[in-house]
Symmetry: C2
């Protein structure tokens, strides 16, 4: 079980390879360079080679360490970059200077993309002061109003990421404003149903216990105070499942902007990990996201070898 | 404009009077005692006088400083206590050892209660590290899925509290996961409508600008980064309006449990401020809530004198 990102980075085994779509983006290249220096991943840079060289010179990045594939057209560059992951030449796929919609189009490409038939979802991973393990939040950025079926997929994807990070049987808290089922609140009805499906073995490799309020999910003192003795999660949740994107995104941004934390994120539900950092992410967050992707790629490869 | 609760407490003018329903509750009496010592409010204690005396002895509270009204029956005690506020003998109403449902029944009593015809809503006030003014969050505890009409009432109530705290024209951010209108996300449609109603003068005494993501609402750097130049709120929101109770409550609990903060809360939409602290609130939060109520009571009384 990794307590934080430093430990997580140290656990990356053999260096992975990240394929970057439209790589002519200074912050992305800086993160890619750092990931290589930290032994996390090498990179294949697909995009406008002239511009990539220009930026590399500016940030003192030695391009002889990287494979550069010159594709000027943005959509074509993404197509090439995702194809490298599809064919196994790279282990993970990263967004560069391309809008999210076009990038996702490449992820979902029927021929060379990374679709699995599952809905794509997003996981944000946090190292927070006062919490002695990583927290996995989903979905804070991708699925607006997840159905029960979406929530099952989100749990499966997020549990896979948490397990790759060393948590053998993650505790999953489907969150709501309250900790009892209220038929007028779909979030609580879904939470109870997810708990039942987990008990019956339909949702595997984790313990689901909901609905839970956030204090019962992450604060052992609060959980004891409310005498929640029959619960399987008593302030020790690993995975926080949000009722919808508003709740998830607002909590995500409260953590990023109002707490001392480190974080990273991934797109999941794909054949290989996808790194979709945003312009407002810090350098550290981008590097953490590449590390997360490397850890998950390693796990996926172990599985396919089994 | 008060930067924090210490300053807020120092601004309470003439001591107010709080009427406590079913006062035989140690944590409530400790907060009431502290509020008196800080010059915030005297109290009338309505409830089981024997039990009140017993607790008072334990916490070294001199009952000669307080009016005690002996009413053993819980619902009757609440009826008596709220009646004291209704008739003007007390300025604000506080929950003691009575379940929330029965307490609210007394608040809404047609003869002696405090209803105004507006829906009740809840405001949580935060002093947060890194933010140089108080933040007013609503609704994080009371209205599950506010309609547009409810949201108008919530803004009016919360703006009234913010103004009482010295913010002449509060900036109100109707929050969502995104900052652009998406017809498939009701929160963003409502946010745009609330902004329009404010521009047309239907929602007064404040500036409404939504939809806003949380970073644009509270982080000036992030707001500048996203080049949101046409916005009226650029990281300087005073009031955070949540799309629903899940989003509100989860952010509220993230702040309480994961940040360095002080907070207090009030029930609003009533003729006089109502203090509805929860068992899990700290002593300090309870005292802050009484201070908030006193500040709002002062403002309401000024208005009725005008």
């Amino acid at each position: 079980m990794s307590k934080g990102f430093d430990e997580l980075i140290s656990k990356v085994g053999a260096k992975k390879k990240v394929s970057v779509a439209v790589a002519q983006d200074a912050p992305v290249l800086e993160a890619v360079k750092a990931a290589r220096e930290k032994g996390i991943a090498d990179a294949i840079l697909v995009g406008d080679a002239d511009k990539i060289r220009e930026i590399a010179a500016e940030i003192h990045m030695d391009l002889s360490d990287y494979e550069v594939i010159d594709v000027k057209d943005v959509q074509e560059a993404a197509h090439t970059a995702v194809g490298l992951v599809h064919s196994g030449k790279a282990d993970m796929y990263m967004k560069g200077l391309i809008d999210t919609k076009s990038f996702l189009k490449s992820v979902l490409d029927k021929e060379v993309g990374l679709r699995t038939g599952k809905p794509l979802s997003h996981v944000a991973v946090f190292e927070l002061k006062g919490i002695d393990h990583l927290l996995f939040l989903s979905d804070v950025a991708f699925i607006p109003y997840p159905t029960l079926e979406d929530k099952i997929a989100i749990i499966e994807h997020t549990v896979q990421v948490a397990r790759a990070c060393g948590i053998a049987c993650p505790k999953v808290a489907p969150l709501a404003a309250v900790e009892v089922v209220n038929p007028k609140m779909q979030a609580t009805v879904d939470a109870a149903e997810l708990t039942r499906l987990n008990q019956e073995g339909e949702i595997k490799n984790c313990i689901v216990d909901g609905p839970l309020s956030l204090d019962l999910a992450i604060d052992a003192e609060a959980a004891k105070h409310k005498a929640a003795e029959d619960r399987k999660i008593v302030g020790d949740a690993d995975v926080l499942l949000f009722p919808d994107i508003h709740a998830g995104n607002l909590v995500y941004k409260a953590l990023v902007h109002l707490t001392e934390c480190k974080n990273g994120c991934l797109l999941t539900g794909t054949k290989a990990p996808v790194i979709l950092t945003s312009r407002s992410d810090t350098f550290e967050t981008k590097v953490n996201s590449i590390a997360l992707a490397a850890i998950v790629a390693e796990e996926l490869q172990k599985k396919s070898e089994d």
